[in-house]
Assembly symmetry: C5
Homo-oligomer: 351 residues x 5
């Protein structure tokens, strides 16, 4: 169970606005890449100095890819250059934010959670964006598939992306993140289906714990997906924001995807609950069957043993002992009793 | 458990708008049929070429029945002829959409789920419609009962359908889909009633799993039915759309049906939960009864066996052994003990 | 478990508007009775011909009591005379409608569910009304207590009913239906109280199944009661409808009753759930107690039997066997062991 | 379980407005007391005749305390004098009303539930009020703490009550009722705490049933408390009603109390659910521990008894029997087996 | 389980507005400290006389820190000096209030709950504030971390606090309280994670009770956190109140924190429920495994013991007894039976 580390308790009492990285990664130097383009030109500059960002051409679209938010110095520089409020800066480096959007006078601030691809376990990294005039700044905790993919898209001008506006660029980043949710979720779904298929054969305690673990991960998942719907709704309501008439259809599509994810999560949860109940019922049935059979065996032999005990007694005067076929008679009686008991139990459908 | 295949993970990272079929059927050539009619004329043209669709008479109502959406080429042709947005085209061929309606400037796009009649198991196929001016285009994954039925209706002019407008045609298709939900659901209901009737007699693990399986299918069902209510509400709100004064009463009726289906689903779920509890309780009762009886049998014989054991001991000096009727006395004592125990257990209502 | 028969699967594919009776009763000839009154006059005509209805006086209030909706011919006549939409007619004869109200231009259509008094089991019959100008038409599946009661009321002018308007007449019918819910519900409540009182004494499987059956019936009940609140709300909102200033207070009272019924149903459900848990807990406690006692008995005798077994061995050299009081010593030891075990178990509060 | 007696089934079919007492108390003669005051004067008249009420001074505030609503005659007199609608009168004497408020043109009608102090068990009595111009009429089923307290308050002019308006008088009565809820609820809370503290020591079936009983009483409690919030909200919304600028702060305080009660009830329910689970878990753990220990004892002795049985056999040729120390060897082997089994069970942490 | 002591039952019947301390601490003398500052000056006066507060400079910001609300005399003085309504005063000293905000004409009243740092167990103390013009008065039940921290902040002018307005001062106090919730909650989270990690190894009853206890504390927690969201929303809506354009961003941040806390609480609850189920399942699995093994051991030996019993019988004519290798034959048969049973049980996967 991982609830996301909470705001560090050592942070209690520090004045708001201080930049302390709260993520799980080793802090490392930030890398700033800038992709600039318009319909005619395209160029990428890697690992630039923050000061370079002061000279960006107002007529092009710029995507500033800020990697490793654990570097407070470069982050501060960026904040000063683009006039970002210190509380926003704090939210970027304190990576325990909720999925959320905030509209400031001069910029929009968006926080997403991206699935870490550097790790087997399900881990989320914070992925935040600032959209300001002709500039999109993305902040990531580490190298990730989303920015890598966007760079390829821009370079190859896939989907005519370079002829579209900043809103479409924002959409592209959000879309790749949501798509990755789909693919992770479909893993859980197919894994659940596997469990569902083998649950009637193979009842082990591990299976139960696996079901529960998936459920816990699904809960975390939902936590990051649930606010997306509201965020997209707010983005559309804002008058002259990122969403406009031309790209609205794409955001609608994205909205549709988030609803599908939410529904799949809900359905998956109900199915996991169902599986839990099936598991518990089968497990208890299996055990009960064993206990029943064993108890029946004992019950058949106990009266017989008693009879044997009778004739093992050492009384002087026990006439049966001297009968010629007493022994065989008793054996016969015992067999008869056993058979009768078995017939009764069979009739009562006890086994 | 089948949650509907999710957006293919291999699709992550492709630009939006690419046409890839994601359904479970074998891709096959599309077939396009056109039914054209007004109050006086009626004709049907089967397996036409997409180009034919450019020449449709503006004064008649046309229903274009597009079968096998797995054919991206013909789909693209259709999309170009009727000027459909590429995201809509993607939603038609990517058959994992939710039940939904989308209003575009020049057309309305509607996605339903139709129960496949080519399969024993409950499977849903996507059934989408585009309504544009005097034309209704329906897209199906395979031949299905809904389009077959509509063709018969139109040919025989049942319910005076040829004298009514495009909205009524749309209603007819939606209505036959919803009616098929009713009939499927009533199967589940009567099946559940059967289980309900025999649950007190026949307690088997399979019964429990059947109950759970029905519940899972019901959950999938609900997922496709739930949005219908909202869709019909939106259709009525739209100013000059498919629903108008003349046919509103039919859509109201349809709305009423969807509510009844939702209610039946909810009631069915509660009943299935009830059955689950009854099953578990009866199953545990049965077992408990068996164990109790068996334990009582053991408990009666164990003290008797002990007594027999006593007189099986080989001590030299055991006076009772030499008593004349020692053996019969002990047998009598044993019988007495057994009877007393049985009386006590009976009094305590232990069996 | 009875979920109400669903729209007949054989109806799938028939055009809307066809009149097929879907109830459980044997179809029979319809009977039409007309009660006409104003402040000064009152007369009742039984079993009239539909054509008679064309001649009704516009200045009186008329209540047309249509019995046995399973007669499509007379129903069609009525529909034509009063110009009722064919979908409304279908809803009258297809008796699987929800409790609902529909406002048409020239009339209001109301569907209630009435408890059948011809049957021991809880069964609901559809009871629909059309209110049009000065006429109230009620449609019932069979003779029932509600129309019988209303006739008596009108004849005796109880509560000055003949001096009041059509709205009050409508209220009277709705009120008697809701009152019958109260009385049925109070049966369930007192039955549940009985179970509650004897549950600690008498734990039988049947009790559990009874609790569950009541819960299922309550679920059906709720389904028909729940929409009433909304219906009454809609009736009041309608500008110049059935509810007016003079009779509003009565409809408010009715509204209050429906809320009380809903609350009682909710409370009853929670109590039934509570009883389920109590039942399961007591049942398992009872069994556990039995098993514990029996196991304790076995546990005490098993070591003693072992000791007896020891001295039943036939070794040549077993010195104890030759001791003079060996036998009595061993008996003493056995008694001591038994007493010690009993003391230990008592101390551990095992019995 | 007590759900409050429902509207008497014998009442089904009576016209609305008939005055029949439906409470549990013995009907008895009504007593009418009148307290009249303004800033300067104060007097109380006990057991007055209804006719006296026609002469009340318009310039004073009057509180009419009507005790024993089971007296339909005096109730009718009151209704006529103050022109109360007969449905209101019915709600006063039919004491199964919900907690509610109704605004009539000339008066406001308020129904509360008061905890009976004449009974050990939790019973609620209906306590209704009519507020009309300068008069507050309270109707109670029997003598109760609320009216007794208010009389004392007025007599001693505690809290300067005689200088305040009719709204404050109403508030005072509602406040004492809500306060009594607090005190009853705190009983339940401390009782639950007691159970919580001793639950780990003392596991008895009665404890479980007690928890369930409290939960049932809490459910009834909530039913009467829940509507209070809404009632207070409606009282404030009404333009020129009981609540005005001067006393609004008191009603706000009352509103706050009702929310606190609701929250406490919810918290209490969750805690009771928690306790149920803890109880069931501990109870099953206790039993399991006993069964485990007993089974271990049996399991150790059964193989030993078998060995003893071997050497109790009477075969002629059993060499071990003739060994000199055969007996002691076997005893040693038995001891060894027992010790080994104990060690194994210990290692597996079975006891 | 601690639900917070309820309004004392001895308070029932006292007129509203009386000052009685209802907390758990020993009443003690109140201490009043005043911190006054503007951009240029700063001074703190400790343990001042209430009368001093009449002379406060209107142009500075004053924070009056009132410690130990259990002192009704000084509280009354404060109330009179600042013209606080007696119901507000009552809410300050009756420390069982909900987390709430109330807007009065001349001041705003805010009630928070602060975690007591003088105690190991989770206990909440009431922490209320009155904001009036340029003055913030905080009332605490005892010395606490929040006021201590604020004093340090003001003294060191951390975060430029002395140059900001009264709203920011209010925010600072609320923020430190919410931060302390975070840190307490993260304790619960890490504690839950510990349990989660060791639950598969170490199944003890205590573990279960611990899980339940955490859940109960979480429930109490939520009760105090839940209303915060609404409070912050109301503070923003108020036209010219504490929140203004300059400090709104800080309150937004605080709002964000409260949502994160709520979400964490919800997630934690679901995880605790999950753990409960895992615990119960593992515990029952462990026991079942033990019982199964033990029962298998018994079942194997019981038939063998029966055979031994047979040949322990003392019949005269038992031919097997005289066979030369009868004994060894029987031993062999017994071994064979045992081996066959073990093989069967193994094959059925019973152990």
């Amino acid at each position: 169970m991982n609830l996301g580390k909470q705001k560090n308790s050592s942070k209690v009492g520090t004045p708001p606005g201080e930049l302390i990285y709260t993520g799980k990664l080793e802090p490392s130097k930030a890398i700033i890449n800038v992709v600039s383009y318009d319909q005619h030109t395209y160029n990428i500059r890697e690992n630039v100095d923050p000061d370079f960002l002061k000279t960006l051409d107002k007529n092009k679209i710029h995507w500033i890819d800020f990697e490793n938010v654990s570097d407070p110095d470069k982050l501060t520089s960026i904040g000063e250059i683009f006039n970002i409020h210190k509380l926003t800066m704090e939210d970027i480096i304190n990576v325990n934010q909720r999925t959320k959007i905030e509209f400031y006078d001069s910029y929009t601030f968006l926080v997403l959670k991206i699935i870490s691809d550097s790790n087997e376990k399900l881990e989320f990294r914070q992925f935040s964006m600032i959209i300001k005039e002709n500039i999109l700044i993305s902040f990531s905790e580490e190298k990730n598939f989303a920015t890598k993919w966007l760079k390829t898209q821009l370079e190859s001008n896939a989907g005519d992306i370079r002829n579209k506006d900043l809103g479409y660029l924002t959409f592209s980043l959000m879309d790749i993140v949501v798509d990755s949710y789909f693919s992770k979720l479909s893993n859980y779904i197919s894994y659940t289906q596997e469990i569902d298929e083998k649950i009637t054969e193979d009842i082990e305690e591990e299976l139960f714990i696996k079901i529960k673990k998936i459920k816990q991960e699904i809960l975390r998942f939902r936590r990051f997906v649930a606010p997306l719907k509201d965020i997209l709704f707010q983005m559309q309501k804002k008058e002259k924001g990122i969403v406009n008439e031309k790209n609205q259809i794409y955001f609608n599509d994205l909205y549709d995807h988030t609803i599908r994810i939410s529904e799949s999560i809900d359905l998956l949860r109900e199915n996991l609950n169902n599986l839990t109940e099936i598991y518990l019922s089968i497990a208890s049935n299996r055990l009960n069957e064993i206990m029943r059979i064993l108890t029946i065996i004992s019950t058949i032999f106990i009266p017989l043993t008693f009879i044997a005990g009778i004739y093992g007694m050492n009384f002087e005067n026990m006439p049966e002992l001297h009968w010629r076929f007493g022994y065989f008679l008793i054996l016969g009686i015992m067999a008869t009793i056993a058979v009768i008991m078995i017939i009764i139990f069979k009739k009562k459908k006890w086994f």
